[in-house]
Amino acid sequence: MPDWEAIVGERLADSSLAPEERREVVTELAGHLEEAFEQLRVEGLSEETAMELAFSQVKNWQSLRRKIQKARMEEDVMTDRVKQVWLPGFVTLFLSMMLLMAIQFFGPHPLIVSMSGWRTTAPVAVIYVPWLLSLLPIGAIGAYLAGRAGGSLRATLLSIAFPVLPYSVFSAIWIPVSLILGDHISHNTMPSALLLGPLAWVVLPGVALLAGGLPVQLLRSRRPASV
């Protein structure tokens, strides 16, 4: 009976896996070859032929070693969640922030909503229309990146809406705090600003991002499977 662990261990000796992990892989592969060998012996083959046939399952040990290392180590660098949610999310967030800064510096004046209508005193919300329009392609990019990485519908929606999440969190904390503490910390914050702020920084950008991203998601889901 061949010592399969010794045979496999020798061929995987140069592997860069951690010693404990390499031992596990060697034990597992040796077990597989041993079972294949035993089955061939049961079928009536000689020990030599059975060993040769079992061993022929691996044509190139160096290539197998590389594939195993890649499968067990490299995928750690970027998990599915990173590729499907975090990477597209941060790309859309970064692009939206950069464009907002550029538009604030170089773009036209924003729409300023005041208590008594659209005028430039006592502003309660500031709306950058060019920025909102630029969120359409940014939403599309988020949907494309998440979809390309095989993201589910939920992951894709999260990637599309990612740039509004910081504003949503801020609004969710700031509005109740302002309303509860009143004049102590927000004596100059009007209730209308508390309501219109989220509209300008969460609802409208969210709608723009989804308007850009959802058609891409729809196109991807309807696209026939590629071979």
Partner: protein
């Protein structure tokens, strides 16, 4: 016999499907796939284990060492809940592809 180009894409589906019936160790998995596909799909050690490790890394499978009645230690794989969820759309996509190819070849012969 199915050619290697088509086989490449079916490997994940084959492994996930056969594990859908219950936990298995690598050798048994390869044997079941070969048996159930009447020899059309054949996994060798070199093609099976890199795939199992990759699917395990993705969190679709979970492997655990078990000792058989004969005292042999084997690593048994089972589908995780994420793997079960992934199997549904993958099956649907392949069903769609096979139906489309079937329609195409039927129209050619008509």
């Amino acid at each position: 016999m199915i050619g290697p180009g088509i086989k490449r894409g079916t490997a994940e589906l084959a492994v996930l499907s056969v594990l859908g019936d219950g936990p298995l160790h690598g050798y048994e998995m390869a044997r079941r796939i070969e048996e159930q596909t009447h020899g059309s799909l054949r996994f060798t050690l070199a093609s099976l284990y890199p795939l199992l490790y990759k699917l395990e890394k993705r969190g679709w499978l979970r492997g655990a060492w078990e000792t058989s009645d004969t005292g042999r230690r084997r690593r048994c794989y089972r589908l995780t809940s994420e793997g079960k969820k992934k199997l549904v759309p993958i099956r649907r996509e392949w069903d769609e592809l096979f139906r489309a190819l079937h329609r195409l070849t039927k129209e050619r012969h008509a």
